[in-house]
Amino acid sequence: MLRWEIKKLTRNVWNIPIITSVICLWGIMLYFSTQARFWYILGSLALGFIILFISTRLFILDEEEKVSEVILTTKYGRWNLLFQRVMTAGIYTTGIVILFLFIQVIGVLLFNRNEIDVHELLTVHFLKGCLLVWGGSVLFSVFTACLCTIFKSHGVTAILSGILFGMTYILRGNLLQQYSFEWFLEKGLFSYLIRGENGLFEPQWVVIIVWYVFLMVSMITITIIIQFRRHEI
């Protein structure tokens, strides 16, 4: 079943143009810098964009292609399929993170002008930071999947997640009061995790973990409740 879901995702016609354009942009940027802080803006934005554009679509495809009722009447078309799709979104996101990481490592090895200690770069920024990047991306893809399932609209999901995710890059809350609304907006909406390195030195990491657990559990619970009400699981 997972194989089919991955096939559906990879059949998205936008896959190649989007990933190619992101890679091209990165390629240009890599030439100008060794990009120790690559995830900080470009990387995290590109990941968020791909998650919103491609992997979220898996959760709305049945509605768009008018097959949702057919799927709902199959033996494994409810709980099982939902679980498989979340897994697929996670696997796809992991694949994209690995691809981006690969490009970065290549960039560092090719273009590093000895300004940065390669060992430190690879261990601290890439390996440790990447765990956060990966975790944040997978959580974000699950979050958008839940939103898409709730609203049954790719547009609404893109707007809600896109604005909240994107705004953290513009309205910066670094100087704002701890635990304020702005603080949560800045740190609690996935981009903070996907940026990687900042999270490694986060003094309030316990609060951050509690917040993400709360956010994800609430989101998944709401999705399940709504799915139950609609008699979809």
Partner: protein, 276 residues
């Protein structure tokens, strides 16, 4: 059906999109947060200076977001409802509809701009003294953009309102142009949004890496004179080549050009669809 009635129906279709209201809610919250972040002690005429600066400072992001969200579905609506081929068979059909839709989009742009000015007025009224509408700009001249210092704030606000309506309308017409080639609204939304976001990303981040290169200079010029520059008042740069009147003329020209181009392309697509 008369054009006014058709326009009314198209307006109803545009304004009944739930996506607009979701985006409006989020943008309002973030916009107010943005306004709060630039708070400072009151001095005479600060209200009007801040009001004049609010769109070039943060407001244009939200205007751009709402334009992308609202306009992206305007054209694909018929396609998504399975009506596009039907429209080709009507006497007035697609072309008249395209004219009406582009006029309705102008009304939409006016509404969005008014809405954000309204919010800003509401927020600033709580912190600053409202008096000074007819004071001259030169009495408190530190604006984000170039303006005639002999103008009163009333004149400045009228000019600025017209400027941002035209700039946002040009951006909206560009989204219409995109939607002539992309069938699904969500993709139009994401591509339109990405083009705008890429500009902002360049201005806020990428330029730091390539600012010293010749390429950086060219890209900055493109930024300044494309949609991001229009919406963020870069055309009224202190060292810009255009006077305030020339900017209006240029914007009107671009808007007419895009309006006509969309009609031409719409007509061409109609012929292609009908196999002419």
């Amino acid at each position: 059906m008369s054009l006014i009635k058709l326009g009314f129906m198209e307006g109803k279709k545009l304004f009944s999109q739930r996506e607009i209201y979701i985006a409006l809610f989020l943008c309002t919250v973030l916009f107010v947060m943005g306004l709060d972040a630039i708070g400072e002690p009151d001095v005479p005429l600060l209200f009007w200076r801040k009001l004049a600066d609010v769109i070039p400072y943060v407001g244009f992001w939200f205007i751009a977001i709402l334009i992308v969200v609202g306009v992206a579905r305007c054209l694909p609506f018929e396609q998504e409802q399975g009506m596009s081929e039907l429209l080709l068979t009507y006497k007035k059909g697609r072309l008249t509809l395209l004219v009406v839709k582009q006029i309705v989009i102008l009304m939409y742009c006016v509404s969005i701009v008014l809405y954000f000015y309204g919010i800003a007025v509401f927020v600033f009224t709580m912190d600053y003294d409202l008096t000074g509408l007819f004071a001259q700009v030169k009495e408190n001249p530190n604006l984000y953009f170039y303006a005639n210092l002999e103008w009163t704030y009333a004149e400045l606000m009228i000019y600025e309102f017209g400027y941002i309506v035209l700039a946002s309308y040009i951006f909206a017409l560009f989204i219409v142009l995109l939607s002539l080639f992309i069938k699904r609204s969500v993709f139009i939304m994401m591509i339109g949004g990405s083009i705008f976001a890429a500009g902002e990303l360049f201005d806020k981040f990428i330029i730091k890496y390539i600012g010293t290169m010749e390429l950086g200079y060219y890209l900055t010029t493109i930024y300044d004179y494309m949609f991001n520059g229009m919406l963020s008042f870069r055309y009224l740069n202190y060292f810009g080549p255009f006077s305030t009147n020339e900017v209006y003329g240029l914007f009107l020209f671009i808007a007419f050009l895009l309006f006509g181009m969309n009609l031409f392309l719409g007509r061409w697509q109609r012929h292609v669809a009908m196999g002419d």
